[in-house]
């Protein structure tokens, strides 16, 4: 097994609000290996985006982060602000859900790309101009020379996301953090962007942490995945293993709620209820009020994340029963 590129150990993120401390991310641990796409899946409010932003400490004032985020032998959590700025955008870059709002509306794309190059490379102005053109080619924006001087509002949704990716890739990062980058796009464009990310991973040897609530996207792109619920990882494994044999009732429920083609018309399953708010996470297993497998032990004792193999772990008292019930996809 290769050494991980990024190693997250017992990461917890708390928000200090006037009404008390809210734990949005609770002792989350995972590794990202070189050249791998790692999916972080969950419903809204499960803590997946906060986890992603905690990696490079992109959190609002008043949030505290505990644990260790190991990056090239250094802990990002304890790093100085100056040092982490060198990492952000240079070694670890990020793309966002809404390419319209994540691009600066009053600066042309050229300026937004060269801003990154100025911050993280020693290129002179002609070198930056050449690199900017090259980047638009890499992300598949035609007619780069002309489009570089256009503003974000002159780009279509898909092209905006490509431009966002070009900015993020400017300084050759080794890790790309993607926060639901395809959610705001329509399905055909979504597919193009996913293929672009897969190509970039292969061509540039980059790793990607991919946050999404869309299991179809995970199946199409990711190598390994972690499912989050109420701030904790409840199941992790290779995408094949998890899809074929989900061991947590929540994962099984999620998989049951994807519409499928090619089969007889079948019922679309949904998980009853809503995810708990951060201020009222149930005792025991956080998922028990919504779980069909729940028993007394689930209400009293929170299950630990049990490792079941090199790449597999689950936090469920009844994982055997869930596994035996079979994947709804099978």
């Amino acid at each position: 097994m290769t050494a991980p590129l990024l190693s997250v150990q017992k990461l917890s993120t708390r928000f200090h609000t006037p009404r008390g401390v809210l734990t949005a991310v609770n002792e989350v641990s995972f590794d990202v290996r070189p050249g791998e796409i790692f999916g972080l899946v969950g419903e809204s409010g499960s803590g997946k985006s906060v986890t992603l932003r905690s990696l490079t400490r992109l959190l609002p004032y008043g949030a505290t982060i505990d644990g260790v985020v190991l990056w090239q032998g250094q802990d990002l959590v304890g790093m100085s602000d100056t040092a982490i700025r060198k990492v952000r955008g240079g070694q670890i870059s990020m793309i966002f859900q809404e390419p319209m709002t994540a691009l600066n509306p009053v600066l042309p794309i050229r300026v937004q790309i060269t801003e990154n190059l100025k911050a993280h490379t020693d290129l002179d102005s002609s070198g930056r101009a050449a690199r900017a053109r090259e980047l638009l080619d890499i992300v598949g924006i035609p007619d780069a020379a002309r489009r570089l001087d256009e503003y974000p509002h002159q780009f279509s949704g898909g092209m905006r996301q490509r431009a966002m990716i070009a900015i993020a890739l400017a300084s050759n990062p080794k890790l790309l953090l993607a926060d639901e980058p395809t959610t705001a796009l329509d399905v055909t464009i979504q597919d193009q962007i996913l293929n672009l990310l897969l190509d970039l991973r292969d061509d540039l040897g980059m790793s990607v942490v991919f946050v999404t609530h869309d299991l179809g996207v995970v199946a199409a792109t990711c190598d390994r995945m972690a499912v989050m619920y109420a701030g904790r990882i409840v199941e992790t494994g290779t995408v094949t293993d998890v899809f074929r044999g989900p061991m947590h009732a929540y994962t099984r429920g999620l998989l049951g709620s994807i519409p499928r083609s090619g089969t007889e018309r079948s019922m679309l399953l949904s998980i009853e209820g809503t995810p708990p708010g951060l201020a009222s996470i149930p005792n025991g297993c956080a998922f028990h009020p919504r779980c069909v497998f729940a028993s007394d032990i689930c209400r009293e004792k929170r299950p630990d994340l049990r490792p079941l193999g090199p790449d597999r772990a689950v936090a469920c008292h009844h994982s055997d029963a869930v596994l035996a019930a079979g994947s709804v996809l099978a």
Binding site: L58, R85, M94, F96, T101, L103, E115, A119
Partner: protein, 276 residues
């Protein structure tokens, strides 16, 4: 002329065109007053005291026989200078401070809010007059006085805009790319936040001319015998019943120039709204 420039001109808001024209002419008069003024603005002519408007003196003469029109034209240089120098430092300094305060927020912002309250509690003119009385009359001291008080208005506008902008995704994206705070504030947020301050600046220049004339009238701004509209109005105040033209025509010049700046501000606001 071909149709092309006409189409482009009509696409601009009318206030912008009218205001721009007024200020363009004002600027030309300010740069080359001698080319347009028929007489020396300071030359006395005791043979033609307090003369009513005529062909020789379209706006009449004052109590020293000086040509009122020539004095108004030469005053453009002083009053346009007042419009710019009495506002540009307040605009620049206020913008920088406002951007920093809005970005940092929290206690710094609360403290800044109290400072703003303290300054705007005083009537603007009274405060400026107080500062000028301490520093002594004259244009430079007037610029200092106006700037010391005026920057808070710009700072307040910019701080509020930056507060909105810093919560948007692109500000986060800037942080995610590892840019320094100063770079994010001035390169990324400020271009998005500066529009209202620029529009206010235009209005403020109109107010600065009024203020400059008021101080000139009170003897705290431009000093006689220099030609300045406020000074001219003050010169004529003792002759209002017999020689109204000494005060009235400079008054029109103030109104016209003030109107020019206001229209330009309105027009700019319209253009910038349309661009968004």
């Amino acid at each position: 002329m071909t149709a092309l420039p006409r189409i482009r001109l009509t696409r601009l808001p009318r206030p912008l065109i009218i205001g721009g024209t007024i200020l363009g002419i004002s600027l030309i008069l300010a740069l080359f007053p001698a080319a347009f003024a028929p007489y020396d603005p300071l030359a006395f002519d005791y043979g033609a005291l307090n003369q009513a408007p005529s062909m020789a003196h379209p706006f009449g003469t004052d109590n020293f026989g000086r040509d009122v029109l020539s004095r108004i034209i030469h005053a453009y240089r002083v009053d346009m200078q007042i419009a710019i120098f009495a506002t540009v430092f307040a605009f620049s300094f206020g913008t920088i401070i406002g951007a920093l305060v809005g970005y940092v927020g929290g206690r710094v912002e609360a403290l800044f809010g109290r400072l703003v309250d303290a300054i705007i509690t005083f009537p603007f003119l009274v405060l400026v007059i107080a500062i000028v009385s301490v520093l002594g009359p004259g244009l430079i001291n007037m610029y200092i006085a106006v700037s010391v008080v005026g920057w808070v208005f710009y700072a307040r506008i910019i701080a509020a805009e930056i507060k909105v902008q810093k919560r948007l995704d692109y500000a986060d994206a800037g942080r995610a790319m590892g840019y320094t705070h100063l770079r994010i504030i001035f390169r990324h947020l400020l271009p998005n936040a500066i529009t209202p301050a620029v529009v206010y600046w235009m209005t403020d220049m109109a107010l600065a001319i009024l203020l400059g004339s008021s101080l000139g009238y009170l003897g705290l701004g431009a000093q006689p015998p220099a030609a300045e509209w406020g000074v001219q109005i003050a010169d004529g105040k003792n002759f209002m019943s017999t020689a109204w033209w000494i005060s009235v025509f400079p008054g029109f010049a103030i109104i016209l120039t003030g109107l020019g700046f206001s229209l330009l501000g309105d027009g700019l606001a319209e253009v910038m709204r349309a661009r968004k």
